[in-house]
Symmetry: C2
């Protein structure tokens, strides 16, 4: 590229989150940055879009090579607004994160951070979602930043196949290396906490723990993460279960 | 099965939507029904979960073989609450819909109806999302009901592979047949409508149209739907782009 690339940043922890500030610092090394991120946390928003009310946008900062907007919508809304209203041209890359907390295994389906990256991919833009396996709002992103820079450089060098983005999860603490992985089979065992309000009415808090269905599978993202490696899962936007057609050949409607 | 199956119903148009009433009528032929659906429309909520506030549940109706709850959460929250709190045992099937409006192609990613079906699948339950290609709140579901009954019976007969659910879209008007399909490549071209409020501040409404990237591909869900066929897409919860590993073999981190 002759001119500096235009890099769109978003996240689901909101425009003021530390993980977004840290990734902004890294990505400024590589291009001009536009941040469009939710005005407050939007964790668990998945690929949600806002259809029942209009969106508002607020320009928070503008300096040489860096513009920051907040938006009242979801991470996917942020990417759509950036691509269709706020930017003069499509960004060259969409980077989402760095999320406070892992989005490995089936958590990718609930993740607003990955929603943002997948939306970039739908727009045909090389897109990466980054998450750190540490929920602390003041987490240490020092080692994460090195991984982000390295993975971004490799994507610049090789490109990404059409319809594929990356789900990158970074371990807390020391990083032993960076591994390609597949999505771990598993699910959240939800144990809602049932409480009663001061007026005697029930309410339920979602809580729970992750149950890994293949904890020893060395090619999975959860295994990598648990063992100190950054996991890189190539993610498709085509949800067709192609191998299932075989099973269904005998079906007669 | 010796006893009548337990069938969980949900949707994203809300507990009072016509499409849910119609599918309830059909499914009562096949089993005992528990409906857990959002208390108001949750279109575009994808696989979102509610993490920032507690959920409330309201039992609206209880009669022989039919119990109806509304819930303040998303379709995914509804399935989680049903499986983990409201039911004595896991349901034998999860049916989501019938959605008012198609969820073919990439719309599956934004769809709360498919969020509910995919969550059932994560729980290991045979799950189907149904959508009618008609946004009218008073749409005619007559032909849809026959398709729902037929597809459900075939799923009962054959089962579904682990980690696979079905995304079923039903055309408006006459139904010529039922076809297995893959997800169409395409995207929404978003044209936000930019307006100014009475106080002079900008706001944006999400709008837009679907742009089919392979309108003549006869094996896709959009092609089936446009030509009067019910489309049945097997959907995976494993988003790993396995074919991309080939592309990435030469990458060095």
């Amino acid at each position: 590229m002759n001119e500096r690339p235009l890099i769109l940043l978003t996240n689901d922890d909101g425009v003021y989150a530390k993980g977004l500030k840290e990734v902004t610092e890294v990505m400024r090394l590589f291009g001009d940055i536009v941040v469009v991120a939710p005005d407050s946390p939007r964790s668990g928003m998945s690929h949600a879009i806002t259809v029942d009310r209009p969106l508002r946008v607020n320009k928070l900062e503008e300096e040489d090579g860096l513009t920051i907007y907040s938006c009242t919508g979801t991470p996917v809304d942020c990417v759509k607004l950036a691509c269709n209203q706020l930017l003069d041209r499509l960004p060259d890359f969409v980077i989402s994160g760095i999320n406070h907390g892992a989005n490995s295994s089936v958590s990718i389906l609930y993740s607003g951070t990955m929603g943002g990256a997948i939306e970039g991919c739908i727009h045909g833009i090389p897109s990466i979602g980054f998450s750190l396996n540490d929920y602390d709002t003041d987490a240490d992103f020092g080692r994460s930043k090195m991984a982000v820079a390295r993975i971004f450089q490799v994507v610049v060098e090789h490109g990404l196949p059409d319809g594929v983005c990356l789900n990158v999860n970074i371990p807390k603490g020391d990083v032993k290396g960076i591994n390609f992985c597949r999505q771990t089979r598993g699910k959240w065992e939800e144990e809602f906490e049932h409480r009663t309000d001061p007026h005697g009415r029930s309410y339920y808090w979602l809580t729970g723990y992750f149950n890994n269905a293949e904890a020893e599978a060395r090619d999975t993202d959860d295994f990598a993460l648990k063992n100190g490696y950054v996991s890189v899962v190539p993610v498709t936007i085509d949800l067709t279960a192609y191998q299932a057609f075989q099973h269904m050949k005998t079906w007669k409607f």
